[in-house]
Symmetry: C2
Subunit: 224 residues, 2 copies
């Protein structure tokens, strides 16, 4: 197996993950993105630009909109809130999952990515899952990811490695890895506010990104 | 948790599974069906009739067509063959998976079913997965199903039982269980040939069903 599927959303994390996967697999990286009616579809444009930077084809887009609609219950896709995690956090207790939680979203995405990897003869799946930031999603934690890997190997009857190089990293750590790998972070897009040209700078995702660059002590290359 | 999601395709196996789940959960059974462009959509009509027999709502239909299209590579949905497993078997070696194999199909279906169960506050998923017949799909085997259950519990941070009462049963055994439970097998539909009113009687699925009833020694109630 000299190919790997890399989940590329267009955000900062997946940009850095692709730089890591590319250092091992080079042109054997197969980029994959999911579409599910999210409002930050602007990320898809960035995903394509990041892949082109590495000389890769644009990501295959797999549409999970109808699947997620059937499951129901996410403000990230339903438009029920303003999509700003900090606003939403006010409305919930400290131990509750944020309402942008599509239950099992990553379980489904990894299952689909594994099937895609199988048909494309790839033996590894890279993703930017992160258990640190504000998400707290149980399906971003190493324990789940490792158990899912076991299930995939059995269910596909093939070795299928799930790799999550950023799972314990802070945003500053991720940026440092991106710098070390020469990741094209200037092409990545983090804003959840839905604008097309300039990040809003005030949504939680923009703030977390800005704090990360501030901690590292360099300006965000996306604003240069 | 007094509710369970039951995967009801409309076939004989899922009809019997629903009879088993219903004996434990009664009206707490939440039927779920998947749509993915398969040619035997006639099953969906049977699924609804079977659920109505038990006084349940029609199954929620979750559309996986676009997800499976993005993955690619299945004669069961692509129309590339006549869909008759016995014909297809001629074209492959004894150790190869049948070409109707959508890689990871059950992995994806269980992941989606688990997310659906989570939002509907159900703690158990019943399915008619069977490792005996002609399928040989690795994602129908107990080892995978148990590992997937572990992953689901971690990924959802909730107990989520995966129950597969038919996994080691022959078709005759399944029919005997159906008789014992009073399952409405007369409403089930097994034919893959795509007709709407009368099963073809010659496709592999029809043959396996007929052999099962012959072994049990009773006529198929669907033909009465």
């Amino acid at each position: 197996m000299d190919k790997a599927v890399v989940l590329v959303s267009g955000g900062l994390d997946s940009c850095v993950v692709l730089s890591i996967a590319h250092s091992t697999y080079g042109k054997g990286c197969i980029p994959l993105s999911f579409v599910y009616g999210q409002r930050h579809a602007r990320e898809i444009v960035s995903a394509e630009q990041i892949c082109r930077y590495y000389g890769l084809q644009a990501p295959t887009l797999i549409n999970l909109t109808t699947a997620f609609q059937g499951i129901g219950g996410s403000s990230l896709t339903s438009g029920a809130t303003d999509g700003n995690p900090s606003t939403e956090a006010v409305q919930r207790g400290p131990d509750e999952l944020p309402p942008t939680f599509v239950p099992g979203r990553n379980i489904i995405m990894i299952a689909v990515a594994a099937a895609f990897a199988y048909t494309h003869e790839a033996g590894e799946i890279y993703g930017g899952w992160n258990a640190v930031d504000y998400s707290g999603y149980p399906d971003c934690r190493p324990r789940f990811l490792r158990e899912m890997e076991h299930a995939l190997c059995s269910g596909l009857d093939r070795d299928m490695i799930v790799t999550y190089p950023l799972v314990h990293s802070s945003k500053a750590d991720i940026i440092k890895k991106g710098i070390a790998n020469g990741a094209p972070m200037h092409l990545s897009w983090s804003c959840y506010a839905g604008g097309l040209s300039t990040p809003c700078g005030v949504c939680d995702s923009c703030k977390i990104r800005a704090e990360g660059f501030a901690k590292v002590g360099i300006p965000d290359p996306a604003f240069q």
